[in-house]
Amino acid sequence: MLLQFNIQVIVLAAQATWRRSIRPAIVQDYILFPLIGFAGVLLLWWIVATFFTTLLPTPLDALLANMDYILNPFYRRGPGDLGIGWLLLASLRRVFLGFLLGSIVAIPVGFLIGTSKRAMLAINPLIQIFKPVSPVAWLPVALATFNLANPSAIFVIFITSLWPTMINTAVGVASVPKDYLDVAQVLEMPRWRQMLKIIWPASLPYVFTGLRISLGIAWLVIVAVEMLTGGIGIGFFVWDEWNRLNLNSVFLAIFVIGLTGLVLDYLLGRLQMWITHRPPTTT
């Protein structure tokens, strides 16, 4: 069974608490046990840090050392010296631009592959070849083309966002239940209206699955890309702090990156629920 821990369940638990209908099982499942999990990791960290003082700061040291970052996420103290909030926003901006462009390309292409056998035969081999390539491998190509770090990072995210969305959209379009198509046929819908009114809405959950995978990978990839390109961003921050042997900030960054990824996925899940009126499948 999958271990599920995401914001949805936290929100669920919070809502249940607010409604003052606290069911002990929910509190236990979604608050108590996760807290125990976190506490366990912190304890382990603490033990390791106490015995190998050169290896790690203790959690408390890390927290104290990061107090400035946590309390002032949006400071500006010079050209390169920005609060962690700004860095996060810069990374998010790249991800959003690349993801948006990628989705704009991937969804129609996926739709085409799903509806046309010929398009599938033509495009599928390309996808199969490019999909296993780490998107970071495209960075030199992008740098050579654009000569600038920022557009190159966006381009890599663009590439990242293509494959999962394309594949899932195609699968969704190709696997629209026959029942729905039967309804469309009995109603004598013309082909283009079938696409608009039946096939498109029926495959939306798959499209969203693809989008969520894409966004998740894009958020993974941006950190690596920024480490390589430098500039302002959460990824470069990690690398920079490591070079200054400042492990405390690296831990902070890891936590912030993880939390942001969680929030991104949650927001996309909400969007899906709002658009498709069906609960998203949690992964």
Partner: protein, 277 residues
């Protein structure tokens, strides 16, 4: 068993005038190809003629091919051999003249109950005014008693409610022929009785050709003019066709007091018993 006057065996349909031959099913067979290359014969040599204003029920054991037969008439499946003619023209594809109530409801999950019905009305009746379309949608929502749940999505509806949306959707577009695949199967006894009455009211005031699949012999006798009894699959065919001798409009209490009712009922049940493998 004592031969009764009101049933005829299959294949003996009279050569009647052409307006009696609204729908003609001729030597129809259906074979599915199984994944391992074999052929499984589902339907074999089906012959049936349905009049323009006739209500026909189809009864048979599960899996004998009733839904398949209905889908072929709807144009959603193709017959392997033989043909189906509607008003003299061979059926090749689906059309709004033959609307289907699907066994598995087939509602679109991204649309509310009302919008499911509205979509059908908008597609099938594009020429009438939007106000009139809205009126038709509301009228049929009320007819199946779903006003309170009209804005819910199919996921939020019970099986019986979904079935009622499916019935409303089919009736709302005023098809020439109505194909109903176990339309009342998921309903509780009370709702079923009411809805049977409503469908019958509509049919009695505006007669049309109906094919209804059912497992319920009482329902078949109550609603239809003829009952088609199918033999078991594989290679199912029409075993017998029973004439229901009661005139419309019918009253369920009254016909249940007639001796013919029980004769008919026992005959049908005996047939089904005999063909239970």
């Amino acid at each position: 068993m004592k031969p009764t006057t009101f049933y005829t065996t299959s294949g003996s349909f009279a050569s009647s005038p052409s307006d009696d031959e609204f729908l003609v099913i001729e030597n129809l067979s259906k074979t599915y190809r199984t994944p391992d290359g074999d052929h499984s014969v589902v339907l074999k040599d089906i012959n049936l003629t349905i009049r323009e204003d006739e209500y026909v029920s189809i009864i048979g054991h599960s899996g004998c091919g009733k839904s398949t037969l209905l889908k072929i008439v709807a144009g959603l499946e193709r017959a392997t051999s033989g043909m189906v003619r509607l008003q003299g023209k061979e059926i090749r594809k689906p059309g709004t003249d033959r609307m289907m109530v699907f066994q598995q409801y087939s509602l679109l999950p991204w649309l509310t109950a009302r919008d499911n019905i509205r979509l059908a009305v908008d597609e099938a009746l594009p020429r009438i005014s939007p106000a009139e379309r809205r009126r038709i949608v509301n009228e049929h929502i009320e007819m199946v008693n779903l006003s309170a749940a009209a804005n819910k999505y199919p996921d939020e509806l019970s099986g019986g409610m979904k079935q009622r949306v499916g019935i409303a959707r089919a009736l709302a577009i005023r098809p020439m022929m109505l194909l109903m695949d176990e339309p009342f199967g998921a309903l509780d006894a009370l709702t079923r009785g009411k809805l049977q009455r409503q469908v019958l009211n509509i049919w009695e005031s505006h007669r049309q050709s109906v094919m209804m699949v059912t497992h319920d012999v009482d329902e078949a006798i109550y609603m239809s003019d003829r009952i088609v009894l199918m033999t078991n699959g594989p290679a199912a065919t029409i075993g017998e066709v029973l004439e229901v001798p009661f005139s419309h409009p019918r009253n369920i209490q009254e016909i249940r007091e007639l001796p013919e009712y029980y004769e008919l009922r026992n005959h049908a049940l005996n047939f089904l018993d005999r063909h239970f493998s």
